[in-house]
């Protein structure tokens, strides 16, 4: 899953840290301590995942996906500031749910996305876009993408209705071929 070259995907990998008991940190090592079992530290997901695969550590859900947050999302997800929680809330959540084998997390995320989709579209199709800045800043990157796409296509229709888009232009693919060196 995931796209190897997708920069968003790579960033999502680094986003939050997973709590891991059972591994020493730099601090403990500089204090001369041995590796202590049952300590909880945070690691980037890419490292935590491979450590867990080898049974060195046990993974726990980070706070933005913990049971308290899940209860909040079940109650109402409309006013949650996802961007503050994690800019790649969905992508990272999906990785987590696969890494920790918790399918109900990704199902919850799908539900949340669906409920917020209508709000996002609503914001994109309104004409008074200035008032929506605050709402937009609370969206996660995936939702922002959806917002941008919806806004672009709505604006195209609006422009056409005003009569601003009269000319039939040659297709993008043709201009690409024309500009390409022969």
């Amino acid at each position: 899953m995931g796209d190897y070259y997708d920069i968003d995907d790579i960033l999502a990998d680094q986003q939050l840290n997973v709590d891991i008991p059972g591994l020493a940190t730099d601090e403990t090592r500089s204090n001369g301590d041995e590796l202590q079992a049952d300590t909880t530290i945070e690691l980037p997901l890419w490292m935590a995942e491979s450590l867990a695969a080898n049974d060195f550590v046990e993974l726990q859900l980070p706070r933005p996906y913990g049971s308290r947050m899940q209860r909040i999302l079940y109650a109402s997800c409309r006013n949650v500031n996802f961007h503050a929680l994690c800019p790649y809330f969905y992508k990272f959540g999906l990785k987590l749910s696969l890494a920790l084998d918790e399918p109900q997390l990704s199902e919850l995320l799908a539900d949340v996305y669906r409920q917020r989709l209508e709000l996002v579209l609503d914001a994109a199709q309104r004409s008074d876009a200035q008032n929506m800045v605050e709402f937009i800043s609370q969206l996660d990157e995936t939702e922002k993408q959806t917002y941008a796409i919806a806004k672009k296509s709505t604006q195209a229709v609006r422009q056409w209705q005003k009569g601003d888009a009269k000319l039939l232009q040659s297709a993008e693919i043709l201009t690409c071929f024309q500009s390409a060196p022969s």
Binding site: Y90, Y113, Q115, L117, Q159, K166, I173
Partner: protein, 200 residues
Amino acid sequence: MTSTKPTQQFTLPELEFLAEDTPITIIPTHRMDTLHFISGSYGPFQPPAHIEVPLWLARLLKTKRRCHIQAPTWLNCRFLERKYDEEQRQPDRFSNLPYQYLEIAHVLVTCAEDDIPQSHTIKRLIQDLREIRQSKARAGLAAVNPVYLQMDHLGAVELNEIRPVFCQAFNHLRKLEKDLGDYIVPSYEDTQSTTSYSNY
């Protein structure tokens, strides 16, 4: 670098171009011989006999003041008002309008304003219809599931507008809900009788 990947949607002028093939009735004001085009021959034009031509030809003749355009049967206030009522009465389905109603109305209202009775009211009604249908399409999109989405009687422009959003949302949801083990696809007949887009 520009990508060579074709875009997911048509541009609006392209949609307008496609809609211009719709046949429409005109009343010529001048006598003319048959006109020959690659797409076919139209004429002879003998006023005041009605004749059916494609919309692009009607628009051309109209701008040269050689004909009057007869508005299609659905492009009048009474019909559109009835459709608007229908839209309001049924919050979960779209009324049956011509597939390209927005484009045809746009072309006719801009080029043949004087031939269409109450063109201002019609403009407003079309806009009202578009807005109420847009909000329905939005609600329908929110009911998207990773299997399919059904919205009957959606127009070309409206479809084109939601297509890129839908594709993105659909792909995203499919990644999240990969496990579709016991997912039952509702049959077409079931959804027909209840709502026009699925709520499952």
